[in-house]
């Protein structure tokens, strides 16, 4: 089942590119080092920014003195908190009062609330000088008590991080679907789990955040060459804060060195750069360093689950569960509290559970703000559902494989409506699981476990869903005042004067190969090869090929992006065929076929109009045009709008997302019983994302998402000490997987076409953190097989934690209680 498509180097000219792994258009420039990343740009007279950052997790700013810094030769100027407070308004908050009273600015105003928070910006002629000057800025702080543990944020004696809000709670609400109280009464047993913790980590794209900002005084126009991955949303934050209309903020991206959601909330820095460009009358260049990125940009959401109660029948069938969740969003909400609802896209995981109550609270702490991170908010929920499966199975003495199969939504139930109104479009979870188990030789490993060896062997399964194409109406379930709903994406395609086909996307790719995949879809419609379609790299809001939700996030390109490409290209195809029909003797557009760069009459293929002629006529020779095709522009913009409705705010009910790709992963671990060191010895990832346009790219996304989750499970953690000091601020201590850390990752797939997208595709790429769930399950399996009754209660399991579970399994075993009734 493990498959890799070897790409032919020569592509034959033929119709039917979709579904084939053709060489990526992006690769030519990237393998030669000719990619254009934001830090590669330079401008005459530009100044380099260095941010002076807080050494404290929580402190009052007593005074700021930039005089020495400004006096240094080569320094162009500074930006202080007082200036920011005067020149900008706080960024708008998505949540309800009192959380919405939180004031978030480009620099720390009045207080610092996490380590590394930018306090002053200094601009100088060189990077080094800017840093020299930053060292001369004097900031006096009065340290305040800190909160690093989200569980303490609501205590009476907890320091209040945002006095304007008067509480550390950002958002709080209860989601109640079905009848969990009835289910808990009716069930044979109730399994109670006291506490589980989903740890804090981030995908840490290798390219940090960057911007080069120019300001044109004549027009008040800002141009931001940057690597923001969702510029439309950045503009919505920044325009009002800077008190400028949105069109005055032109965003340009080109190649982006990975995003994974971590480049959605850089608007604070971009705003500071805008203010500096305007104040200092010169282009401003900002490059974030890795340590800064770790301390003060975008962590993933950390979440605590308390008082879980699962209603279970003796045969392992589960009726549902209830839980109290506390989400830790760090010092500022920014994209939050959207994480308080996004999880609900996968409320019951892959399971047929009808009764679920979630009491959800999000709080601020003195840690780095969070941002959407690959698998955003769903992977926390999916980790919970997977932990529930394994803990219930082990406590009841059942096989986790059988428990999953018994509870999975079945293929014949698709499309399946979850208790909260989401619609799982298609899939066959049990079949995917069988494939995954076969790939790791499940029976063989079970036999090895029985035989025993020096190492503790464990098998784990992670079953997840990658929900793609958000219905932004879900935000109204958090805040009924918000005016967001649905989704959209744009593509524009034109046939130019010399016959070039130019495709412009609204998406903001960061390595997903959009240029290639979009060209495949357009090529099939236009009857040309993908080589003949120029897809503009990156994004430029001046192209006017974007809409409010444009961007690359939330596993949606294969649906929103490609539907837009398809829509625009079909429009262009129709225009070409109308034009050719009119020129070639008045044929009906349906009687014209596009092939090999010609529009041909079906009844007489020798009668054909080359695309070049089409482009030339419309653009430069239009006096010859027949009157009924004078509306043809050969420049077609299409906005794709998925079929969503507003959710029911009262019941918190509705379809929150359009497609659900499936990931079923299985792994084998070997644990050194003396040290707790976990070695991943076998790994299989089975994916079902419907129809695959470019199988190799899909497989690449599976590899990437898997390794992010492996890193989170074993190595990566943003750990803080009690004073709010980040202990893993660089790649020495924040260990991301290197080549030697990983086994070969086997892949398999099935294709269950989505009934909700015209290409049968589903968004994919985020995955659901399946490796975290699989590795936790495998560790628990190994412990149980060794007679240790421990449960894995944390998503992050470094050697010492595993060693402690081996030494003292009771410590976590006592978190679980099973009552029979």
């Amino acid at each position: 089942m493990s498959e890799t498509t070897v790409t032919p180097t020569q592509v034959e000219l033929e119709v039917g590119y979709a579904g084939k792994s053709i060489p990526r258009k992006e690769d030519q420039r990237l393998v030669k080092g000719e990619g254009v990343f934001a830090d590669d740009l330079k401008r005459h007279g530009m100044g380099y920014v260095h941010f002076v950052r807080s050494p404290y997790a929580h402190a009052r700013i007593v005074s700021v003195d930039v005089s020495q810094a400004e006096a240094l030769e080569g320094v162009y100027g500074t930006l202080t908190p007082d200036e920011v407070a005067e020149l900008t308004d706080p960024f708008f908050e998505l949540t309800t009062p009192p959380g919405s009273q939180i004031k978030d600015y480009a620099l720390a105003v009045g207080r610092v609330r996490h380590i590394g928070e930018p306090v002053v910006a200094v601009v100088a002629a060189t990077r080094e000088l800017a840093r020299d000057a930053a060292d001369l800025v004097e900031v006096e702080y009065d340290p305040l008590d800190v909160i690093v543990d989200a569980r303490r944020a609501q205590d009476d004696d907890a320091p209040i991080i945002h006095e304007d809000a008067g509480t550390n709670v950002v958002w709080s609400g209860i989601f109640d679907w079905g009848d969990i109280d009835g289910a808990l009464k009716a069930a044979d047993r109730v399994v109670k789990i006291e506490e589980l913790h989903f740890d804090r980590f981030a995908s840490t794209p290798l390219e940090c955040s960057v911007a080069l900002v120019e300001y044109e005084r004549a027009t008040g126009q800002f141009t931001l060459y940057c690597n923001h991955q969702m510029p439309g949303v950045a503009a919505i934050w920044m325009g009002p804060a800077l008190r400028v209309p949105l069109d005055k903020l032109r965003f340009v991206t080109h190649d982006i060195g990975g995003g994974f959601g971590n480049k959605i909330t850089t608007h604070t820095y971009l705003t500071a750069c805008c203010l500096l460009a305007r104040k200092l009358k010169r282009p401003i260049q900002w490059t974030e360093w890795r340590t800064d990125q770790h301390m003060a940009n975008a962590h993933g959401n950390e979440r605590w689950f308390h008082d879980i109660e699962v209603a279970v029948q003796n045969d392992g069938t589960m009726l549902g569960f209830k839980v109290k969740a506390i989400d830790d969003c760090g010092a500022f909400p920014r994209y939050e509290p959207l994480g308080c609802i996004i999880w609900a896209q996968v409320t019951p995981g892959l399971y047929r559970w009808r009764n679920i109550r979630v009491d959800f609270t999000q709080v601020v702490t003195n840690k780095s703000p969070v941002a959407p991170n690959r698998g955003y908010s769903r992977m926390q929920q999916l980790w919970l559902t997977e932990r529930i499966c394994d803990i219930v199975a082990h406590e009841l003495g059942l096989d986790p494989v059988e428990v999953r199969k018994k509870n999975y939504v079945r293929a014949d139930e698709m499309p399946y409506e979850t208790p909260n109104g989401c619609v799982y479009d298609s899939g066959d979870y049990a079949r995917c699981l069988d494939i995954a188990l076969e790939l790791i030789d499940y029976e063989g490993v079970r036999a090895r476990q029985e035989a025993g060896s020096g190492k503790l062997i464990g098998i784990g399964i992670g079953s997840t869903l990658d929900s793609g194409t958000n219905n932004f109406g879900q935000s109204t379930l958090l805040n009924p005042e918000l005016q967001f709903s649905g989704n959209n994406e744009v593509a524009t395609i034109k046939l130019d004067i010399f016959g070039e086909i130019v495709l412009t996307l609204g998406t903001v790719p960061q390595g997903q190969g959009h240029e290639t995949v979009a060209a495949q879809v357009a090529a099939d419609i236009l009857g040309v090869s993908p080589d003949q379609i120029h897809v503009r790299p990156g994004h430029d809001s001046y192209w006017n090929s974007h809409a409010g939700f444009s961007g690359t996030y939330a596993s949606q390109f294969a649906v929103t992006g490609l539907e837009a490409v398809k829509g625009a290209t079909e429009k262009l195809s129709l225009e070409i065929r109308r034009l050719a029909g009119a020129v070639l003797g008045g044929a009906d557009p349906d009687d014209i076929v596009l092939e090999g760069g010609f529009a041909k009459r079906k009844d007489n293929p020798e009668t054909a109009l080359p695309f070049m002629a089409c482009g030339a006529i419309v653009n430069a020779n239009n006096a010859v045009l027949p009157p009924d095709v004078r509306d043809v522009t050969l420049n077609c913009r299409y906005v794709y709008v998925p079929p969503f409705e507003l959710p029911d705010k009262e019941r918190k009910f509705g379809n929150l997302t359009l497609t659900y790709a499936t990931q079923i992963h299985a792994c084998v671990v070997e644990i050194d019983p003396e040290t707790g060191d976990v070695e991943l010895v076998d790994y299989a990832a089975v994916d079902d994302c419907g129809i695959r346009i470019h199988p190799q790219i899909v497989e690449g996304q599976v590899h990437g998402a898997t390794v992010h989750a492996i890193g989170a499970a074993l190595y990566e953690t943003f750990a803080y000490d009690e004073y709010g000091q980040l202990l893993t601020s660089n790649f020495y201590d924040y260990h991301v997987p290197h080549a030697l850390d990983l086994p070969e990752i086997k892949t398999g797939h099935i294709e269950s076409p989505s009934p909700f997208s015209s290409l049968g595709t589903k968004g994919m790429g985020e995955g659901g953190g399946a490796a975290i769930h699989a590795i936790c399950a495998a560790i628990q399996d190994a412990l149980r097989r060794a007679g240790k009754p421990a449960i894995v209660n944390d998503s992050h399991n470094p050697p010492e934690r595993v060693w402690r579970m081996i030494q003292n399994p009771e410590e976590t075993a006592t978190l679980v209680e099973v009552t029979a009734q």
Binding site: P55, I115, D721, E722, L727, S729, N730
Partner: protein, 178 residues
């Protein structure tokens, strides 16, 4: 991080107290002091270069005596600021006279903020140990000098990089988490 320990002196408590409460003598206790300035008997400051192999870490320290009960107890707060690091320290001394000898119990709570704080967690504890050992050795020298009424010992100073500054100290620091 909290460190504490005890130290015995072959000198009367008053003498130990005098050394501990004389800023100019205190200055000599600190490793790598480059300059020293006394504002009043409760406030003083020092420019310090903490010796580290890859180059000294320069910090400007301000000291304040926040509490004292002669001759048995004193509490000092200090804060050192430098590039990449802010070191805050709270130090307490308890002296118990034992005839011509004195027993000193001490506690220090050291906090490091700034980029270095996030980098060197595993090395703070040994580095703090080293510095504490230095201070205790220097203190012993000062006390015995004061007892002898001479000054020569202090000036020969314990070179921060010299081996004797770091020899294992039987009554050196112990740790508690923090």
């Amino acid at each position: 991080m909290k460190v504490d320990g005890t130290k015995e002196f072959d000198a009367p408590a008053q003498l130990v107290w005098d050394v501990l409460n004389d800023p100019s003598k205190m200055a000599k206790l600190l490793p790598g002091v480059e300059s020293f300035d006394v504002q009043d008997d409760r406030h003083w400051s020092a420019a310090v270069k903490v010796p580290l192999g890859m180059g000294g870490l320069k910090l400007n320290f301000k000291f304040e005596k926040v509490e004292e009960r002669p001759i048995e107890y004193a509490k000092l707060a200090s804060k050192g600021q430098g590039v990449g690091a802010i070191v805050s320290m709270e130090t307490q001394f308890h002296l118990t006279p034992d005839g011509e000898r004195t027993s000193m119990r001490w506690e220090a709570d050291v906090r490091v903020a700034g980029p270095i704080g996030s980098m060197g967690q595993r090395v703070f504890q040994p580095i703090v140990n080293q510095q504490v050992t230095n201070v205790l050795n220097a203190l012993e020298t000062q006390v015995s000098e004061a007892k002898d009424g001479g000054t020569s010992g202090a000036e020969q100073g314990i070179h921060a990089g010299s081996p004797e500054a770091y020899s294992a100290e039987p009554d050196g620091p112990t740790h508690s988490a923090g």
